[in-house]
Symmetry: C2
Subunit: 163 residues, 2 copies
């Protein structure tokens, strides 16, 4: 009788393994929704923590926009900065923070859109527990980004707006 | 002996069903990677087939860029058109086509980036078998889009570049 049970038991074991493998493959495939390459690690002093940028579009004299795909490690953020034509931020993945000078910080999630006004100091980055991936669309019509001081831990941890 | 086999066989059947259900759930969850809303169906005559647009950013006098999330049904496409400052297209999902006047059409897939030169007539849309979702970033610094004739079926079906 034992031998009669061997085949079905072996089949069950095989199926369990195959089911698990398929699940793992699905997880690996859908582990990230990354659309654009992560690019190079940012090494300048305008960021705190680990961040990466892949420039997708460089501004030229006729189409004066740059587009970059920026990935922030948990806790990483830009310094305060401003743009003479403002900036557009499109949140693609993870949970991020965005704050304008004089306002509470906002939580950004996949699909959120920010239009930052011209010359208004602001910063953006990842939340403490999640990577954050965003597109930054920056008009260079009236000049380059002005970089300011670092975001303190107190500012980083400050209250956020209700959303 | 038959009754001894009943339990293992029932177990196998149950596991097959459970495995399939999990797979279906995964598929449903990952059926779409949609980041931005599909928006409103486009009803003007500058498109052939079904297309939807969700405007994410409207140009203003200081940040003169518009950003739209455009979804094309299979076979749908824009008419030929040009932009005085060119256009940036970021492919988010599905398989699309992009063609500039005088060049072969290109296949666009998730993560592909196009910088269309100023005043060069071009069109974009979905391939015949797939929806296509793209961001269109359009500088309005030097004026609005110039709309031209429709893309014929022959043009739509023409050869594409190797990629």
């Amino acid at each position: 009788m034992r031998s009669k049970l061997l085949l079905p038991v072996a089949l069950i074991a095989m199926m369990l393994i195959s089911c698990k493998q398929e699940e793992d493959a699905n997880l690996a495939e859908n582990d990230t929704t990354e659309i654009f390459p992560k690019g190079e690690k940012i090494t300048n002093s305008n960021f705190v923590g680990d961040a990466w940028v892949q420039m997708l579009i460089t501004a030229d004299s006729i189409n004066r926009n740059s587009v970059g795909n920026v990935t922030f490690a948990p806790g990483a953020r830009t310094n305060w900065h401003s743009h003479p034509n403002g900036q557009i931020i499109l949140a693609l993945e993870g949970t991020g923070y965005y704050q304008e000078k004089g306002s509470k910080k906002r939580i950004l999630r996949k699909g959120d859109v920010v239009k930052c006004p011209a010359n208004l100091p602001h910063w953006h980055g990842a939340g403490p527990d999640s990577e954050f991936v965003q597109l930054a669309i920056t008009s260079r019509v009236s000049g380059p980004t002005e970089w300011l001081e670092a975001v303190t831990d107190e500012q980083y941890r400050s209250d956020h707006t209700k959303d």
